[in-house]
Amino acid sequence: MSTTDVPDESEPGGSDDSGGPSRRDIIKGTIGGTLVAANAYLFNNIRQTSAQGDGTPGVRERFSNQLKLTVNGRERFVRVEDQERLAETLRSKLGLTGTKFGCDRAMCGACTVQIEGDPIYSCTYFTKDAVGKEVTTVEGLSEGGQLHPIQESFIEELGGQCAFCTPGMIMSAKSLLEENGDPTREEVKDALEGNLCRCGNYENEIESVLTAAERM
């Protein structure tokens, strides 16, 4: 993650036609060091505001690899490496740690998020490929403190034991129920087969999805 590097003044594409040096210095000074890795979401909010508020081009034009992502219905600007995976970006730069790393290589499903409504393993999905697409994570499910019916049913049916797999399970279930509002037990199992639950809590996970289906 080269987020730790302070942007080079002479970097190509860094033409500064809007904010002037003062804003640039503020950003540069603030994001120096590893602080950005931990609290990037705060600064991205600032950038987002500056990028959108007055209609001027934002920092995207000034930093290399600066991408605009749409996450949980909000535009987020983030600087990424070419090889950076979406789970890394979500967790370490956008502060969305509900998405988990369970295996780093598309074996367990703990990192499942939705891209354009489809469940994908974000541990093996390049962040740059998410540009222009709607990304939904478990943090994007509740609205105004009101939980999504799948979240409600996962609480009631004890859908999570250790619950490390739960966010990924919920995202797979959401994709299923958006396509098929009245799934059979077998269809639920098929939809969750890419999500490993080491606690072996599958019966409760299936019940949770079926219960949510009834309510949606």
């Binding site: 993650m1 080269s2 987020t3 730790t4 060091g33 590893t34 602080l35 890795a37 931990a38 609290n39 490496e81 967790r91 502060g95 969305l96 740690t97 509900g98 988990k100 790393f101 369970g102 295996c103 780093d104 290589r105 074996m107 367990c108 703990a110 478990v138 943090e139 499910l141 509740s142 939980l147 799948i150 979240q151 996962f154 609480i155 009631e156 004890l158 859908g159 999570g160 034991q161 250790c162 619950a163 490390f164 797999c165 739960t166 966010p167 199992k189 969750l192 087969e193 999500n195 490993l196 639950c197 080491r198 606690c199 072996g200 809590n201 599958y202 019966e203 409760n204 996970e205 299936i206």
Partner: protein, 809 residues
């Protein structure tokens, strides 16, 4: 409905919302300013010594802030070192770096040059006993210390001692060596030769219960911050708070008072994260160099290399049955694998032996065992460590012995079930309660055993059906631990428990018991978990013991709180303390009906001070409480009613033993070799069920893991190189949602209360695993008419039997 307000009834668990919103913080989820990322330099050999380590290139790299090697950390005797000069397994670390990001850390690891001296290795447990074979450890090939004991299950570590024992005159050509040499453990009940003389049927078989990686979903990540004032804060993934707090403090050579341990959510552990583990100390020692928070983000590969797991258990089992099906004799010779680190093989053997006495009650027995070291990852307790290997290994033997005696295997199981206080263990001590026979009967009814037995051996296309029965047990309750209940002046009752939050919800069950004991309203009860600063000292959250152990200690604290509340009410309203009762979050006079609320009573406690607010520690607790428990109350002293509890020897008479009896029906496809568990019933003697939903989740989860053990999961090492060959989830392989039972998985409880358990409770988590595992093994054998000596029963093993003509046709 339960006779209690809360115990026995379902409820919304206190951590449920956080788990479904992504708010639940696991070790890798905490955000820090100024964070450094750690990675380790690992051995590429099964056994090698680092002659020298050149870190200069790494240290010169931009972004690298700290580099440490084995020279910078303490020695670890037979336990796992934090970093090793002589790594005894492939993938064990010798050095570590901390850098400003993971990529830089990875590049720095690549830049470190290690000059390796490659040493001889051995990865097969039996091989270690052959004359002339290499020793996995420099000290020897056999752990000889005391077993860690089932209570600690080696989580505290067995005594560190090792010796070299080779079986010089043994014949190694069979599944188990003939004429073996010395064993390091021997148990006897009566005279086993006499027992065999009284038998009409004698059957013997050797089974190897295989090693397996634990693979919790959350790899073991840790963040450590070593402050400039010397105080160390550690955010880790652990099943326990109290024992991990003290354990990691020891590992980094700090008094516990200078360490804070935080774990709000653990993403699974199944024993492997029972207490502190050396991976926790890597970022701590790096942080000591720079006084910045350092994170090591565990990877799945590392989980295989140093995440530890179930020990190999190779047993030659011989049983004798009389004409009624009584087991007159049981003889076992067993080899347990400790891996390279720890002496846990001894605990595996003693735990397995103990469970066999509990479940089978042989009239006579001789159990002999020897643990060995191999150059494979540390073997450590994993859900029923020893008990569940033993359950798997004996299931086919009982099935075949019954059949040779002309008896139904279920009758043999019932015939040998323990009496209620039946003896257990090497010393033949009583159990607190035992209802295994009832569990078998409930399982038989749930699965319609007669129907399944009638279908046994029948064919449907290429599939053949079979039915099997098995049991397992676990010692699941301990005394000598602390409880802490605080009643705040707003009336809130707070349970400060020290077990942690593994996902079993037993920490919440403990609070339910406190609420019932105190007549409290559940809405005004809070349970604190996750930080050592507020933890009463308790045993770790393993050994299926939290509900009993911590329940008992905190019910006793709740009883203390009730006594204080009554005394304070008497002071406020008059009369004697005995005249008052607690109900509906009030202290009520039994006759007049006059009452004060818990909030008013807590204020009265603050006004009175002394013992009521822990400004004075009552004499009975001064000696008995662990100082950490008193420290955990410190912020409440003088601020509310503070009540301690301590469970003692007076609270227990015998082994607290939980049981499971399971019956499985399988189909085996003779063309593809695929085994399908068609239906299973898994019934448990867990005492009173405190929380039905989580009881069900534990039994189902245990059953599913047990099925995985028999059918899929393994950990294989290449003999020539000692390198593990299946370090991916899809190779090792935990069951997926399509992999467990195709039909119904019936689970349930006997529900008989234990006379010593809090509210009659015992434990749940581990026995359903072993019972499931054994039942599937016995059912496959029943279907095919032939036993398997190695597990898991993968399709290739089935087809090998078919081709060899061993299968009944």
């Amino acid at each position: 409905m339960s006779e209690h307000n809360y115990v026995g009834n379902d409820f919304e668990v206190p951590d449920g919302r956080a788990k479904v919103t992504g708010e639940a913080k696991y070790a890798d989820d905490y955000q820090f300013d100024n964070l450094l990322h750690a990675k380790t330099v690992k051995s590429p050999y099964a056994h090698a010594r680092a002659r020298s380590i050149d870190t200069s290139a790494a240290e010169a790299m931009s972004g690298v802030e700290a580099v440490i090697t084995h020279e910078d950390v303490p020695d670890a005797a037979i336990g796992e070192p934090v970093l090793a000069e002589e790594p005894l397994t492939f993938g064990y670390p010798v050095a570590a770096v901390a850098a400003t990001d993971e990529y830089t850390a990875a590049a720095a690891v690549e830049a470190i040059e290690v000059d390796w001296e490659v040493l001889d290795h051995v990865v097969d447990p039996i091989e270690t006993l052959k004359p002339g074979s290499p020793n996995a450890r420099p000290e020897g090939n056999v752990p000889t210390g005391e077993a860690g004991g089932e209570g600690a299950e080696g989580q505290g570590g067995a005594e560190a001692a090792a010796d070299t024992i080779k079986w010089e005159n043994a014949d190694f050509s069979g599944d188990f060596p003939e004429d073996p040499g010395d064993f390091t453990m021997e148990w006897n009940w009566g005279d086993v030769s006499e027992g065999f003389e009284n038998a009409e049927t004698i059957y013997e078989d050797t089974v190897k219960a295989q090693p397996q990686p634990t693979n919790p979903m959350e790899p073991r990540s840790t963040v450590a911050e070593w402050g400039t004032d010397g105080h160390v804060t550690i955010w880790g993934s652990s099943q326990s708070i109290s024992l991990t707090h003290t354990g990691v403090a020891g590992m980094i050579e700090k008094p516990p008072t200078e360490v804070t341990f935080i774990c709000n959510f653990a993403g699974g552990g199944f024993g492997s994260k029972g207490t502190a583990y050396p991976q926790m100390a890597v970022p701590a020692f790096l942080s000591r160099e720079v006084n910045r928070p350092v994170k090591i983000r565990g990877t799945r590969r590392e989980e295989f290399h140093w995440g530890n797991g179930r020990a190999t258990y190779i047993a030659r089992t011989r049983v004798g049955l009389d004409g009624d099906g009584n087991i007159t004799a049981m003889e076992i010779d067993a080899v347990g694998d400790a891996g390279a680190y720890s002496a846990d093989a001894l605990s595996t053997l003693s735990s397995g032996f103990n469970s066999l006495t509990q479940c089978w009650q042989p009239e006579t027995l001789r159990f002999r065992g020897i643990g060995v070291f191999t150059n494979t990852p540390k073997r450590w307790p994993q859900r029923g460590p020893g008990q569940n290997q033993a359950a798997l290994a004996i299931a086919q033997v009982i099935d075949e012995a019954a059949k040779q005696a002309g008896l139904d295997p279920l009758d043999v199981c019932l015939q040998n079930s323990p009496e209620n206080r039946g003896p257990a263990g090497a010393e033949r001590l009583p159990m607190t309660s035992a209802y295994l026979g009832e569990a078998y009967e409930l399982a038989a009814e749930a699965i319609d055993y007669e129907e399944k037995r009638a279908r046994s051996g029948t064919r449907e296309g290429s599939k053949v059906y079979g039915v099997g029965i098995a049991s397992a047990s676990h010692q699941s309750g301990y005394i000598g631990f602390d409880g802490l209940v605080v009643v705040h002046t707003d009336g809130t009752v707070e349970v400060r428990q020290g077990a942690g939050n593994l996902g079993t919800e037993s920490f919440a069950a403990v609070a339910r018991m406190v609420a019932d004991t105190m007549g409290a309203d559940w809405d005004d009860v809070e349970v604190s978990w996750g930080s050592s600063d507020k933890s009463s000292f308790t045993l770790g959250q393993f050994s299926s013991n939290t509900t009993f152990t911590e329940g008992l200690a905190n019910v006793k604290a709740a009883e203390t709180a009730v006594q204080y509340l009554k005394e304070l009410a008497a002071q406020e309203l008059g009369g004697t303390a005995d005249a008052y009762n607690v109900e509906n979050h009030e202290v009520v006079h039994g006759q007049s009906g006059e009452s004060i609320s818990f909030a008013e009573a807590a204020q009265a406690a603050v006004d009175a001070g002394g013992k009521y607010t822990a400004e004075e520690i009552p004499e009975q607790y001064q000696e008995s409480l662990v100082p950490l428990t008193i420290a955990a109350a410190s912020d409440a002293v003088g601020q509310g009613l503070v009540a301690f509890g301590k469970s003692t020897g007076e609270d227990l008479d015998g082994f607290v033993t939980s049981f499971a009896g399971a019956i499985a029906e399988v189909s085996v496809d003779l063309e593809t070799g695929k085994v399908v568990v068609e239906e299973m019933a898994n019934y448990n003697d867990s005492g009173t069920v405190i929380h039905p939903e989580s009881f069900k989740a534990q039994v189902e989860g245990g059953a599913i893991q047990g099925i995985g053990y028999t059918l899929f999961e393994q950990y294989r090492h290449d003999q020539d190189t000692g390198i593990p060959v299946n370090t991916d989830l899809y190779k090792s392989k935990p069951p997926s949602i399509h992999d467990y039972v195709s039909g119904d998985l019936h689970v349930g409880a006997v529900g008989e209360p234990d006379p010593f358990g809090p509210f009659g409770a015992k434990g749940v988590g581990e026995p359903p695993y072993g019972a499931a595992s054994g039942a599937v093994a016995a059912a496959i054998k029943d279907a095919l008419g032939t036993s398997f000596s190695e597990f898991p029963v993968t399709p290739d093993k089935v087809l090998e039997k078919v081709r060899a003509g061993e299968v009944d046709s």
